[in-house]
Amino acid sequence: MERPLRLVTANPLDQLARTLEALLVVAGAPLPLEELVAAADDDGERVEMALGLLSERYREGRSGIVLEQVAGGWAFRASRDAAVACGRLFERPVQRGLSQASLETLAIVAYLGPVTRPEIARIRGVAADSAVAGLVERGLISEAGRDDGVGGAVKYRTTPMFERVFGLESLSQLPRLDDLAGDVDDLRERLHAVAEQRTA
């Protein structure tokens, strides 16, 4: 491992290589050569040489970090030796329940959907952006057109995955809320009225 490193130390490319390391460790997607050149504010050929040095330093069997050239550009990845350990890291335990914010948002979408984010926020009394995004990411809700056609707020409804997780054959199997309201419109009205009182 020593020789190339000694080379780098003596090499004026060393500083540039470090800058590239830094850029690559922050990047969320592979970085094309041009972007690396522009960000490092250096010469294209020198950047390629520095990448060559780094490919040598970060190569399979030598480091846990491997520099790889893929279709979109250059990126760090985990070494193959560490594949099992990485598998353990990304293997998430089955989550037992949802957070209060997610549950409230999901319940509103299930009972009132399709429903827009602003309406969810009005009923809950807080912005719904992150809760909605989280539920979309989990595949429990999805977009269902826009309010008043094009240009309106995006509406959301629950997904088949939601029905699977909650053990429902369809939304009509949701627990009834007869004690609260006759139909969806009643329920909607009631939720809005209470939300207004809460903020007042």
């Binding site: 969320g28 990845r77 329940g97 549950l103 009972y111 949701l174 627990p175 609260l180 329920l187 209470v194």
Partner: protein
């Protein structure tokens, strides 16, 4: 210097003071968002630019800002304004000092965070997953549909009527004092109203006074007072209280 033309540059509002007042009165601007301290500082700056002290301007400003502050306090802390009003002056001062100190500490902490943020400006890190990392799958255990109904019921529940329990605490029933005074007069023929009220809140004292009037109306007691603000003596009917020659506890400012 014309106070109403004072130019303001606040987070929530930019323009002359007069316009701010207009917007607030028309309820087009929420006073809760207005930094009143910022207005005061601006006024003091303008005042400082002048050689002479403009007493008229100061007077007008004081009146306007006091009104603004009162409006804002009422809007922000309906319950608390009442709580503070119930406190003795020393307690209110203590409570205000505590709150001001807390706010100052948080202001200080905010300053620390600002410095820290500036120091850390050159620390870059990746946000989110790595480019070539495996996509973790988030699995959710089977859920009970009843949870959804429960949550909707909670969201549809009228906000708890907190104020009622407060009222009960703050306004003891008049009957409570009626009973208390009757019991007292069954043991003693007369008592000193003020001495009986030691340790009660102002509201409770008021309720106790109502109880006194109630008993008087029912002709169960007689009430006497040697002079305005002198101690109130209460006696069973038929046993006039000869208060003049007795030494009693002084009527203190609290019960006034």
């Amino acid at each position: 210097m014309i106070v109403r033309e004072l130019e303001l540059d606040l987070d929530a509002f930019e323009g002359p003071f007069d316009l701010l007042l207009t917007l607030v009165l028309k309820e087009e601007l929420d006073l809760a968002d207005v930094d009143v301290a910022g207005i005061v500082v601006r006024f003091l700056e303008r005042l400082g630019e002048r050689e002479e002290l403009d007493l008229d301007a100061c007077g007008e400003f004081l009146v306007l800002v006091a009104a603004l502050l009162e409006l804002k306090a009422r809007g922000l802390f309906e319950d608390e304004a009442a709580e503070l009003a119930d406190l003795e002056p020393e307690e209110a001062a203590e409570e205000l000092a505590r709150r001001l100190a807390e706010y100052r500490r948080m202001k200080e902490a905010g300053g620390w965070l600002a410095e820290r943020l500036a120091e850390e400006r050159d620390r870059f890190f990746r946000i989110g997953p790595a480019p070539l990392a495996p996509q973790p799958e988030r699995k959710l255990a089977p859920q009970e549909p009843e949870q959804l109904a429960e949550v909707i019921r909670l969201l549809a529940k009228e906000p708890p009527a907190v104020s009622l329990s407060h009222m009960a605490l703050r306004f003891p029933p008049v009957s409570q004092f009626v009973e208390r005074f009757r019991a007292l007069l069954s043991r003693r023929s007369r008592f000193d109203f003020d001495a009986e009220l030691g340790g009660l809140s102002r509201v409770e004292q008021a309720v106790a006074f109502l109880a006194l009037l109630e008993l008087r109306r029912a002709d169960e007691i007689t009430i006497s007072q040697a002079a305005p603000f002198a101690p109130i003596r209460v006696a069973r009917v038929g046993e006039e209280s000869a208060a003049a020659d007795e030494r009693t506890l002084a009527w203190n400012a609290r019960s006034a």
